[in-house]
């Protein structure tokens, strides 16, 4: 017997007491959405909760997106901005920074040297102040949002789901997914939360309202 068969037969042996009439799919996935944790104004809640995790959150009219990105870059003094494929040109502001396209793919060294990255998102979660990326067009492959020290995210108000279950249902499990709640952090020293370890230390969330 190979190990696969050894483990599977050990599992079956251990479960010999389970009646044959009981089926694996007798228990459907639970509905995690019974309670409304979000309330009426999901956009306000998202902004509040994300800010509690030390993300910088601004709410602007959709037409002011590029200006808000410009202010975020000016605030940190970024000199270079990574721009993923598929991001609308109108969203990328002019300024004293060089633009780095990921075509051909940037090396990890180039990404590590870059100051900032600008992306859209796939969905957001109001209750937890989370943004979810599926790394499709406008979001770039995963390394793009990991190595530069500032991540600027454009969040359309209609992408904000009230809670975790609703957001997960909007995502495509076949794609790589990253859920981001605030800048990187650790509680490993005396269980005291400290922001800024390996991931981007600055997370800017620009919420775009009105189409």
């Amino acid at each position: 017997m190979n190990s696969r068969e050894i483990v599977l037969s050990a599992v079956r042996g251990a479960l010999s007491g389970v009646p044959g009439t009981e089926r694996p799919d007798d228990l459907p996935p639970p509905d995690g959405r019974r309670a409304d944790h979000a309330g009426e104004d999901v956009v306000a809640l998202f902004a509040e909760r994300a800010a509690e995790y030390r993300a910088t959150v601004v709410r602007v009219p959709a037409s002011d997106a590029a200006a808000a990105v410009r202010r975020a870059l000016a605030r940190t003094g970024a000199r270079s901005l990574v721009v993923p494929s598929g991001l609308d040109d109108d969203l990328v502001p002019d300024g004293p920074w060089s633009l780095l396209a990921d075509v051909p793919p940037l090396t990890v060294g180039q990404l590590d040297a870059a100051d900032a990255v600008l992306t859209t998102i796939a969905a957001a979660i109001a209750v937890t102040g989370t943004v979810a990326l599926d790394h499709g067009p406008g979001q770039g492959r995963r390394a793009l949002t990991l190595l530069p020290d500032q991540h600027i995210c454009l969040v359309r108000a209609d992408q904000i789901a009230p809670d975790v279950p609703e957001a997960l249902h909007r995502l495509d499990p076949s794609r790589p997914l990253t859920l981001i709640s605030g800048p990187s952090a650790t509680s490993d020293i005396e269980l005291e939360r400290v922001e800024g370890v390996h991931g981007p230390r600055t997370l800017d969330l620009i919420v775009l309202e009105g189409a």
Binding site: V7, V11, P30, H169, R175, E190, L191
Partner: protein, 497 residues
């Protein structure tokens, strides 16, 4: 099916002895008190925010219990989905086999170093040691794991393996050891946690950038889609899961969930139970291999290592529902005082006390089921409602039974219990024993309490005060007063009649 690994640390003393040493360490106790106190308050605040918290716990418990009852079915579904998405699935019956598979996979890449995401499964199988034997260096990248690795130490907590270290100790370890492993710590390193985190960032950065192979564990894996989930805070997980070309994930077979939708519940429960946050900073989910993004070779190793033996026990099986949040450690009065090392296992605290003896056989960790006061705080905190006290009592019976099997002569405990059985089953013998106890209690008791006693009573009485038996038992009192009352009432009745 378990071999030589880290589930129990060979050569470490049994819990009572180790606990005595730990209790004498005042710095350790101060570190633990501060850390567990902080996290307890945070967890309560985070869980109180969701009015359906209890319902979420019920749902999660139901999913886990039902999944375990059909584990073979879901493992096969997971294997199929991961394979269809471009991953390769391996099965390992024990630690040695899992280590062999990982070592061979690393060797095939031609690399001699790997970066690691914090993972209990790889701790459990002693992977770092096995890789070192094959000339492969494994770099821990989680901050707490890094502190443990640089300090030549052992983990003492599931979530925060360096919880026993205070900030000034960590600064000393960084100053002393970082240079040995790569870039040294900055000259002016302070003991501010911010500074220490920054030092870890600088130290590990070059390792992330050059790494070709990463090893991770898994928090969950969805059988329907083949999606694997790693929940983390620092971004070291994302680095390992994204930058290298080859990713090797070692996962206990009990981590499988039937469907992606089950994450609805578990991604609400885990962060709030573990770090007391609404959501951890980063959660990575991946399904096999994605062209042009992340590792192009993905291996998933499904690990048994004692889990099927645990599964066979219908009471103890529930321990496999554990999602490694560590809430039970943080609320445990025993853990808070002894710390994790006293348990002599990578799985310390209440969950360790029920999981470790089952993974390695109760006779190999016989003191652990007794490392608890049975207060039940762990059960109240557990997000998947593992009835830890119930399993502890069940394992205590097994430990006693195992001890009996191994001995020709009965133990003092067994003799005492047998004598107690004889006394308690006979009213006459009980009354005689109670009269004797009342007399003995008056002789040795001080202020209504019996303290430490010599001889055969020393082991019991050395750690607890026993109330001195009353001068008269309830039965004796009843007989005395009832007889008198009956006489009284007869007199009254006679008067009225």
């Amino acid at each position: 099916m378990s071999g030589a690994d880290n589930v129990v640390w060979l050569g470490t003393p049994a819990f009572p002895e180790a606990a005595r040493t730990a209790l004498a360490d005042t710095r350790l106790r101060a570190n633990l008190r501060r850390a567990t106190g902080t996290i307890r308050d945070k967890r309560l605040a985070a869980t109180a925010e969701l009015e359906d918290w209890e319902e979420l716990r019920e749902k999660a418990a139901a999913v886990k219990r039902h999944t375990l009852r059909h584990l073979d079915h879901h493992l096969l579904r997971l294997e199929k989905a991961v394979t269809a998405a471009g991953g390769v699935v391996h099965w390992a019956a024990d630690a040695a086999e899992a280590n062999r598979i990982v070592t061979a996979l690393v060797q095939q890449t031609g690399e001699d170093e790997v970066v690691k995401v914090k993972s209990m499964a790889t701790q459990e199988i002693g992977l770092n040691e096995a890789l070192a034997d094959a000339g492969i260096r494994a770099y821990e990248t989680d901050l707490a794991e890094l502190i443990v690795q640089l300090g030549g130490d052992r983990p003492s907590h599931i979530l925060v393996p360096a919880i026993h270290r205070g900030r000034s100790e960590i600064r000393e370890i960084f100053r002393r050891e970082m240079g040995e492993w790569g870039s040294p710590a900055p000259e002016a390193l302070t003991d501010d946690p911010r500074d220490l985190a920054e030092a870890a960032r600088l130290h590990l950065r070059e390792k992330f950038l050059r790494a070709k192979v990463a090893v991770s564990g898994a928090n969950f894996a969805a059988a329907d889609t083949g999606t694997v989930v790693v929940v983390e805070s620092e971004g070291n997980g994302r680095m390992c899961l994204t930058l290298p070309q080859t990713l090797i994930t070692v996962m206990g077979i009990e981590k499988v969930l039937p469907s992606f939708s089950d994450l609805d519940v578990f991604l609400q429960l885990l962060p709030r139970s573990s770090t007391g946050e609404r959501m951890n900073p980063y959660t990575s989910l991946w399904t096999g291999v994605t062209e042009g993004d992340g590792p192009q070779n993905f291996h998933l190793i499904l690990l048994d290592n004692g889990r099927t033996a645990t599964l066979a026990d219908e009471v103890g099986r529930q321990a496999l529902s554990c999602i490694r949040c560590s809430a039970c450690l943080n609320v445990c009065p025993v853990y808070e005082r002894t710390g994790g090392h006293a348990y002599g296992s990578v799985y310390p605290g209440p969950i360790g006390a029920v999981l470790t003896p089952q993974l390695v056989g109760v006779e190999n960790a016989a003191s652990l089921p007794f490392a608890s006061t049975l207060c039940g705080a762990c059960y109240d905190a557990c997000p998947v409602k593992i009835n830890i006290p119930e399993v502890l009592v069940h394992l205590r019976a097994e430990a006693v039974e195992a001890k009996r099997r191994d001995r020709l002569l009965p133990t003092a405990e067994a003799l005492t219990m047998k004598a107690a059985g004889a006394v308690l089953s006979s009213p006459r013998r009980l009354a005689a024993a109670q009269r004797l106890a009342a007399l003995g209690g008056r002789l040795v008791g001080r202020g209504g309490r019996i303290g430490a006693l010599p001889g055969p009573f020393a082991r019991w009485s050395g750690t607890r005060d026993t109330p001195a038996p009353p001068q008269e038992s309830l039965r004796a009192w009843w007989r005395r007063t009832r007889t008198r009352r009956r006489e009284d009432s007869r007199t009254t009745a006679g008067r009225e009649g």
